[in-house]
């Protein structure tokens, strides 16, 4: 039950883009078409899940084992950067079709702060509420749900922007200004989910 709670909370209640402000750059940058938005969402889901597992293991068995916690940031960003490269190379060899779909987005992902952000949150165990014990499994569930939340926000936002491109917008508001206001309205809609996690917690008896 705790996993369902983490799943729903990460997607809707604490949406990574609309309430935590991580991964804004791709959210604003590649959301003009639903297709590219979905591609970016899938690439993030893929990399985020793998990166979380790898960085969690590094945190537990290297950094904490040798008391090198202060190297966290530097170790994580290097791991993520090389991981993205590796995924790109492997994907090219193993599944050219998948590479075709995700390839263009992979280089952009290294500087997507939601990857490093989620990796740090999971490694420090600050993502779960206090009565859910942080572990590798809950961390992975959290990372994957977060990525789904990112994908959902991307796709919905891209859908709105596709419609927006067909209407007349006042001159000053054109481009990023109207996109930001739209994102604000979307964030407002997602605020409607706040408190849902509390209700679920009562329902599940956690």
């Amino acid at each position: 039950m705790a996993y369902i709670l983490i799943f729903i909370t990460a997607i809707f209640v604490n949406n990574i883009v609309l309430s935590q402000f991580l991964g804004i750059c791709p959210f604003l940058g590649v959301s003009k078409k639903v297709e590219t938005a979905a591609g970016m969402g899938a690439a993030v889901a893929f990399v985020l899940t793998i990166a979380t597992i790898v960085t969690y293991l590094i945190q537990k068995y290297v950094l904490e084992a040798f008391q090198l916690e202060y190297l966290q940031t530097i170790a994580f960003i290097l791991v993520i950067a090389s991981l993205v490269q590796m995924v790109e190379i492997i994907l090219k060899k193993v599944s050219p079709a998948l590479y075709q779909a995700l390839g263009v987005f992979l280089p952009l992902i290294t500087t997507n702060c939601c990857i490093l952000g989620v990796a740090i949150l999971v490694a420090n165990g600050t993502y779960a509420s206090y009565n859910v014990e942080p572990s590798l499994l809950t961390g992975v569930v959290y990372a994957f749900s977060t990525a789904l939340g990112f994908g959902l926000a991307m796709i919905v936002f891209a859908g709105i922007r596709e419609q927006l491109s067909m209407v007349n917008i006042p001159k000053g508001m054109q481009g990023m200004a109207i996109a930001l206001v739209t994102a604000g309205l979307l964030a407002m809609a997602f605020m409607g989910f706040s408190g849902v996690d509390g209700g679920l917690r009562q329902l599940f008896g956690i």
């Binding site: 202060y70 190297l71 530097i74 509420s129 206090y130 009565n131 706040s194 408190g195 509390g198 917690r201």
Partner: protein
Amino acid sequence: MKKLKSTLPNMAIVLTLISVLAGGILAYVNSVTKGPIAQLKEKNLADGIKAVLNAQDLKVQDSKTLDAGDVLYITDKGTAVKTITNGFGGALTVLVGFDNDGNIQGYQVLEHAETPGLGAKAGDWFQKDAKGDIIGKNPGEKELTVSKDGGDVDAITASTITSRAFLLAINNAYKSFKNAEVAAPAIEEKTVSAEPATEETTNE
């Protein structure tokens, strides 16, 4: 100076050098800042205990962690209890101070994820002379509840859930305080056993 060529040994040497240098500098800065960071944490806790017990100087005699996760800090001026409940937006950590009779001396919200401007007001709302004043009340005489639930504490405007969670935390802290007193009466016993002895001497 001419730019180094991208040959394999060059690249390996440069990357290793930079990494080792960075690691060394970080280790040094870490060793310098480690002390102050640890001190700060201790000082924060000590200041918190002083603030919630309303005392300028006090001695922490004992601290223990209970099964429920509450932490008790027993001092010569009363007991401070750190407790966690679920608020509206996530965990709500409160430090509450009780005197020996169980009257609330003060409280501090240590960590919270409540909505800014609404539930986040809990830090001030229940303080002395504020709208939801709980200072001086004793949860043992009557459990603290918001007026909506038939109690006599005014809830934060538009934040009943946070208020309920906060009062639950206070009530839980009181229970931990009482349970610990029953479970470990070591300090109490000494004073009790000392009393009859003095009585005997006066009788004679």
